[in-house]
Symmetry: C2
Subunit: 353 residues, 2 copies
């Protein structure tokens, strides 16, 4: 996969294995976790890659670190980034590690914990508007003034390659365990993580699915139209999944390689959040739980079943379907955790399981 | 370390390395996690062994599985256990794995999630009183009636060895990473986990500390008296740490090998719970967070500092102290999570860090 630079320069390759090799030992190799209750609900073996435990609290650290390292090596003295939060935090932390200046642009309604983390990493934080267009305009001005390049949150080959390394680790760990993935499910904001997952799965019979909040479905509409289609994002609890448009570079990958997109509503995201918290014992942000919400929706729709493809005896036997899900982030406000944990329905379900 | 059986039979060895070898591949090798905010608060490198992610939701799975496997191999058709919850869940799950009948006795005020998990594992659950004495009486009657042996929650060599395997994994992983432990901190209920930790640390210069909730300090009083001293447990949020007396077998280990006991109050446990949830992104039960509460108390008291032992240059340089903490369990009610997460103090602290 190559990226055609509009300037006419040579195409920049998206090399997930190279990013994975470089990142090994530089980011946390996050664990792959399972919970019996989640397997039961999905009717499948569900392998959960806990990138919410990653340095910086999200898998964005991978792409941010890989991209910033190359800019540092190229002699840049600083970087600029915009995002709803996690990419900004990642770039801020990466810049500190390479002793570069960092300016990050977040929306005025960003999660306070994400703003605090970017500041704690030493970045200059600029709050601008509520849409990606407003942030991009500010980031562009800062880049022009400082001469520091923009590290795009998803329209950047090194960022996509870095994010893809999380999927590659999950794919390889599942293979080593003797339970190779049949499907791999990731939440979609700008599409960088899902594109990285598709590239990580290259050459393997893995169906990669993206998950979008209902009303924030630029990717689903773009796939239908055959070109990137912006949306006016609907309100969603998944603050990291509301860009107005899938990235061009991710779309170029996803349009041919993605198996499909699942839309989920906030109730499904909250249920996934609570399963992960109370059954898996890990804290995700709503965007980070959306992958599991999508996997459970796929399971409910029969998309993860192998019953129709195999003889009944085989389907009921050892050929149990294995689904990988990347839990992309865990930066969430205490107040929101308190609110989401407050319903007691889940425990009643476990009690009768 | 040997256990003198009151029946006069041969002493039963407590072999932590053997338990660790047997358990490898049979329980989850839980990750060792870190969070910069926790390191800063402790003024040390804090390695957190996430046994809250263990099968069954606590490190009790290790001792339960190891002990039950030996009883199954010896031909027993069933087992009996009593505990405030996690050991009962572990024995229930272990019995199911070996196809043994299980009866588990929990207090009438047990955490509903623990009761539900024991039932879901197929055990017969008996609720009896609120004290360990009441549960032991019922467990003894069931054992007499059924002929099934009791798997004690801590006064049992295989249980202690199994629990110790979590500490041994942490010790060895810290060594492999080039940051061997200087100290190791565990919460204390009956003392089995702390005794296992002391045995796991045998031959290494690691100071092992136990942590008791204030007013549930049987071990501290027992160490002072030189013999097991029961207490009337004070109310505590750490429901797993309120046995009325440290076990005889753990005490025999701890009296000579434990460096000390730290008492913590509920506020300190809640603060540790919130740090683990919001910074490390993992859910612990209050008892499971008590180890970190104790480590932070030790740090505040200067017990983890090396400044007084080394020249200033060395102390300020690379010789940073490394402290291991076992996060022993994560089985907690959603309502309690909601209540504990509700205060917003922590994020303000992070913002100014």
């Amino acid at each position: 996969m190559s990226h055609i630079d509009p300037s006419g320069a040579a195409p920049a390759p998206i090399d997930v294995p190279e990013a994975a090799r470089w990142l090994a030992g530089r980011v946390l190799r996050t664990p792959v976790l399972r919970a019996p209750a989640i397997d039961r609900l999905a009717g499948a073996r569900v392998l959960l890659k806990a990138e919410n435990l990653q340095a910086g609290g999200s898998y964005k650290m991978r792409g941010g670190l890989f991209a910033v390292s190359r800019l540092a090596a190229a002699g840049h003295a600083g970087v600029v980034a915009q995002s709803t939060g996690n990419h900004a935090v990642a770039v801020a932390l990466a810049a500190r590690r390479f002793e570069l200046a960092a300016t990050v642009v977040l929306p005025v309604d960003a999660a306070p914990t994400k703003v605090a983390r970017a500041r704690a990493a030493g970045a200059r934080v600029v709050l601008a508007g509520t849409t990606v267009e407003e942030r991009l305009a500010v980031a562009g001005r800062v880049s022009d003034e400082t001469g520091h390049p923009i590290v795009d949150a998803y329209d950047h080959p090194d960022v996509i390659a870095g994010q893809g390394s999380a999927s590659l680790e999950l794919i390889e760990e599942a293979e080593r365990a003797g339970t190779p993935l049949d499907a791999l499910v990731l939440p979609v904001g700008g599409g960088g993580g899902a594109a990285g997952a598709c590239l990580a799965a290259t050459g393997r019979p893995i169906e990669v699915y993206g998950v979008e909040p209902r009303g924030c479905d630029s990717l689903a509409r773009s796939l239908a139209a055959g070109r990137p289609v912006p949306v006016t994002p609907a309100p969603t609890i998944a603050d990291g999944l509301r860009p107005s448009c899938v990235g061009e570079l991710p779309f170029a990958v996803l349009r041919t390689r993605l198996r499909g997109v699942v839309r989920v509503d906030d109730d499904e995201i909250v249920e996934a959040f609570r399963l992960l918290l109370l059954e898996l014992k890990v804290l995700t942000e709503p965007s980070g739980a959306a992958g599991l919400a999508g996997a459970l929706r796929l399971a409910a729709d029969g998309a993860l079943s192998v019953a129709e493809r195999l003889p009944a005896a085989a389907a009921g036997g050892q050929r149990r379907r294995t689904v990988g899900v990347v839990l992309t982030g865990g930066n969430v406000e205490a107040q929101l955790v308190a609110r989401l944990a407050a319903t007691a329905r889940l425990e009643e379900e476990v009690a009768v399981a």
